[in-house]
Structures are given as C-alpha cells and as structure tokens.
Amino acid sequence: MKSQTKTILVVDDDEGMRDTLSAILKRDYDVRVAATGEKGLSVLKKADINLMLLDVRMPGMNGLDVLKVVHDHYSEVEVIMV
C-alpha cells in the first residue's frame, strides 16, 4: 500500500541523481525535489517533509550546511546524506 502521508525531499544538484532517487521512491512515497540547498530549505519551510535525501557536495550551501539548519530548526525530519 502506498504510504500516502510520507513525503520525501530529494536535494541534489545533479539532475540525473534527482531523477534516479525519485524513480526509486515515488512508488511508495510522495517525492519532492530541489536542485540546491537553499531551494531545499525553502521546500522544507512550506511542505510537511518526513525525510530528506541530501547530497553532500553542492554549489552554494553544501549538504552539511543544510543539515545543520535542518537539525536546528526541523529536528523531526530524518536526513540521509548521499
């Protein structure tokens, strides 16, 4: 059964990786994507996200920078670093 209430946010500057991760997970979850750390935080602010797949190396805010913000302000959101 599809987990309708769970939403996953994929943050990665690599479009191919975003598409791959979305393809793997979208059957079971609602998947959102963002191309930068800043955009990822913006999505996080507006949507009820359960889990983030977060690329470590990105231009601008890198994954660790984003992780610190998530940890401080959205502590309920689980994060898997990629």
Binding site: S3, K6, I8, M17, L21, I24, L25, D28, Y29, N50, L51, L53, L54, V56, G63, L64, L67, K68, V70, H71, S75, E76, E78, V79, I80, M81, V82
Partner: protein, 397 residues
Amino acid sequence: MNEVEVAVQAIKHGAYHYITKEFDYDGLRSLVRNALQRQDLSRRVVSLSAQVADQNDREFVPGPSQVMREVVTMVKKVANLPATVLILGESGTGKELLARLLHRESGRGDAPFIAVNLAAIPREVVERLKPLGLEGFKVTLDGDRESHDRMRPLRGGQGTFDKIIDNIRQVAPLCNIAIGGNFDEQSVDSYPALLDFLKEQSFADSLVKVAFKPIISTEPVAQSNGLIPLTALDSSGKALGGGCMTAAGAGGGSPCDTCNFIDEKMSFLREETKKRDFPTLTACTWAPARSTRSTPTPSAQTDRCSPALGSRPNSASRWATSTTTDRTKACGRRRRSDSKNSVPGIPAGDCSFIPVCAGGCSVAAHNELGNMNEKSCHKTSFESSMVSLAHSAAGVS
C-alpha cells in the same frame, strides 16, 4: 574532507545515515523505511510522554469527603462493565478527572483517553445527531478574537476564538449555525471587527442568524433612604425585570438600567450586522416567558404581565398610553423577525410594557406607529409615570 570525514560530520550533526552514490536500490528503500519508522516511534514516545505527564498532573484525589469516597467506590464497581457512563456535575467539580479514573480502572487504561471538548461540537457528533433531528446550533462569540479570549479565559483553552471558528468551519456544511454574543462596555466596539471577520469566512453564507445581546448585572440596586429609586424594585430590593424591549428582556430577569447604553448599542450592532447582510433581528428579541416578570402599576404595586402567563390581564389600571387590551395584543404579536426561531405554543415573550428603559421601545412603536421596526420613545410617559409613582409613594393624591 574525505568520505569518512564527511560521514562522521553528517552523523555528528544528526543525520540518520550516510550512503555513497553507488547505492543498492533495495538497500536504499530499506534505509528510507527504517528512518521513517524511527520517526514514527520518536513521535509516539513524545505523545505518550505527554499523556503520562498529563495523567500524573490530573490524578483524581477523592479527599476525606464521604460522598466522594462513595463516588470512587461506585466508579470502581462500574469501571469494568461494558456500558456507557454519564457523569453529570457543575463546571469545576472534577468530571473529567473522574472520567480519567474510570478509564484507568476499566482495564482499558492502556488505550488512549480522548477528552472531547463540548465547548465545540465535533463533526462526528453533528453527523450522529442529524438523523435525530438536529438542524443546527448556536455559537457564542463574545466579540473579536481579543475580546472573546479575554472574556472566556477558562475551559483550558478549549473555547478560544480560534478553536470555535475551526469548529464552525468543520460543521457549517452540515447544519445551520447561528452566532450569538454577549457584549459589555469594554467589548461592544470589537463586534464590527468580529462581523468583518465572519464575513470573510467561507461559512459566512451559511449563518442563519447573527444577533448579540448585552451582559447586564443582576446585583441588587442600592436604595438610598428617603429617595425613590429610578429603577423599580421588588420588596427585597432587587430590580424588577424591566422589559427593555430591545435587549434586556432576553437577558435573564435583568434590571433595566435606564438603558441608553443598551438600546444604543443594540441598535448599533443590529445595523452593523445588517450592513454586512447577515440575517439578524429586525426588531425586538423574543424573551422567555417568565412568571416572575413584573411591572409596576401606578399604585406602586407590581403586576405580572398576564399574556406572558397565558391568561388575560386582571386589571384595567395600567400605565400610560396603552390599554390592557393594547398591551395584550402587543405582547401577542411580538415575534422575532426570524420565524424559524419563534417558539410555537408560547403566546408571548417579554411582555412588560412599562418603559423603564425610557428608550426606543418597539411595543410603543407598534402601538403608536403601527410598525414595531420603527423607533419610538415613550420617555415622556415614563417620566409622568414616575411623577405619579412619586405622588403615590408620598401619599399625595
């Protein structure tokens, strides 16, 4: 940073896991599933901890009272029965604590205890009551958000303005909603803001009536020695139900307060309500028929308004410009504008004719102008009546 250092930093900053980009698809799915399960468990722990803390805070303590001990004994007896239990009592006597005790003793203590707030009516309750004849209900909002929450600080936050509005949003599609409110000098000016707020809501068109009434103190009126009080008093010194036609009549045995304030503000709020196209009263309120409601006669006696009691008036000696028959008709004809709310079988509402309020009485308007929606004033007759009363009390013929 190399891969290991990044992984260490990630975990240190709270990441659930770290994977490389050469991941296995099934492994990733499994990892995601586990992370979400951990999140669910964390949330459950938080929720249960809060419930336990709440229960500990609200432990029922019967105290030394024999009556309460008997109540607790009875609760323990019935707790295991598969029956519904109704607990009645005044506000603040501990009904919910007793319900929690019942829950704990029932053998179902591990299951959630859900305290339903009956300051609001949940959608499910409305759905269950509709087949039984529920058409709608009335909601009280005592002014705008700030005023309402100031005037109703209790109920553990359950009756706050926002919660009531949320409740209306849920049930408005199912049944009729009437909005009422009780205003005083401090809150009355916040009502236009309330009306504006209501007008903006999605349920605005569903409201079947919007009408407000004043809060009137029922404290005994002080009587100075040797002076005739302006407000008519009964033998115990309490003000008589004055029969302010526009407002106080519905206020619950209210002493009329020479009520320029009430009439003025009732008219003001009525106009403000009408301006926003809400259904409201166009004339006077329908007050409950009260056997204790009295009016003073010229001989300083009190007389019940007979039509309100369903019988004919017993004397022709009455005040001012209306005969008894006129008064009977006036009483009998007075209705709320909203016929949905008239009460069949009750012949009259607030039947006190004496214009103690000296304000714009709709009965006078009815009698003198033939239209109870026109404003009228019988202050003159009131004043002459007061002179008569003064003469009578002073023994001057």
